[in-house]
Symmetry: C2
């Protein structure tokens, strides 16, 4: 059953966003749709919306307790999250601790290599352009952010990374990399927005050596490894055991 909500503001690949009675608050519905490679690959995965909403909510609650400003307000029911309304910055901010994915296609760094320090990459959120990598100079040229905003975003991203790594290591999970979206609240404050889930993080089981078996995130879907929901469920099981 859906909670009462206002009109649909936005429908993305994995979420729908609705107005509420409060102009500063939104209702976010996590869908079961799974997409990859700029939506060229598409599927329905029963339970994904619920798992991602629960995992995201737990992580946002944890980050909030550590003092990280996020858009999270409340978990309403299985697939629904109440969030502060923000003006979304059209960038995907990727923080990497271990090399994987596009970094290994675009540099000679081998998959699985631990990076000497976390790497931050900005990607332009534009499906038609295929979410291209942006240099800082291109971010500035496009007028997306000022230099001081870039610094603020990088600082917040590294703060999230520090806490998230700690969060996952406590669950015997390795945080390989993750994507953040951020936005500005009405008071101008920078908040972590969107979701933080196995859709947006690479998470490996720390105690499994096998390079495929250890994957508990969306790479199971991207790379046709099977057991996608089993991976997400395992992440949720460990979070629930430790944090409920």
């Amino acid at each position: 059953m859906e909670p009462s909500h206002g009109s649909l503001l936005y429908e993305g690949k994995a979420k729908r966003v609705f107005e509420t009675n409060n102009p500063d608050e939104l209702l976010v519905h996590f869908k079961n749709d799974a997409t990859a490679f700029n939506a060229k690959k598409h599927s329905q995965l029963d339970g994904k919306g619920m798992l991602n909403c629960k995992i995201s909510s737990s992580i946002f609650r944890y980050l909030g307790k550590e003092g990280v400003p996020t858009h999270f307000l409340d978990e309403i029911q299985d697939c629904w999250m109440l969030a502060r309304k923000v003006e979304v910055i059209p960038l995907e901010i990727v923080v990497r601790n271990i090399a994987s994915g596009s970094l290994c296609r675009e540099t000679p760094i081998v998959d699985g290599t631990e990076l000497s320090s976390p790497l931050i990459d900005f990607y332009y959120k534009d499906d038609r352009l295929g979410d291209p990598l942006l240099t800082e100079k291109r971010v500035l040229l496009l007028g997306l952010l000022s230099s001081s905003q870039i610094l603020e975003i990088e600082t917040l991203s590294l703060m999230v990374n520090t806490f998230l790594k700690k969060f996952f290591i406590g669950l015997d999970l390795l945080l390989v990399d993750f994507k953040l979206e951020m936005g500005l609240a009405r008071n101008g404050k920078l908040l972590v927005a969107d979701e933080i889930s196995p859709d947006t993080c690479r998470i490996w089981d720390r105690n499994i050596e096998d390079k495929q078996d250890r994957i508990l995130d969306k790479d199971r879907f991207r790379n046709d490894l099977g057991g996608v929901m089993e991976g997400y469920s395992e992440v949720f099981r460990r979070i629930n055991e430790a944090y409920s």
Copy 2:
């Protein structure tokens, strides 16, 4: 006829590089091969080697007079250049004044848009990886350059851009963008290396409105516009008239 030279050190897509009797000097042979899209497109263009060698030599001489350090030593004969030996930095340094090419595929900036200030892009010279765009953070992570070396290279690139724009505007040509390669001489000095020619610059006729007719550079080859050598010849004719 070939000048006397030592053994072949390197053969690239458009040039061959030979040792000489002097360990600090190289002989560069400009080939007629034209390639594009990471050598997926390949052709022979009679006269290209000669034109690029002559144009490059003229530009290096001009830059040298303006105080820009380059590897150029002498034009030996039609397709041969004597150059200082450098340790090549494995980056393509692209300076853009007007948006064109990959910048317009990777951002929403429309082809032909004059940029508010020159944009510098670094690409990793690696054919297997397809010469990917590198952010500064990736350049540092890969250990290719230090922060101070990046600054030195950017400063030198902008200096070259200032002089090259002046050079071309004097010939009624617009310098859209260009690629530089740089290297370190044995004494550690940073030098502009490789070539500067219609293979490595986008050059438009300032007095032609038509978006295809105005192109006098390798885009004629990339985009099958015909008249490739006519374009290169026109650039050379104007340089020769003004600077010989």
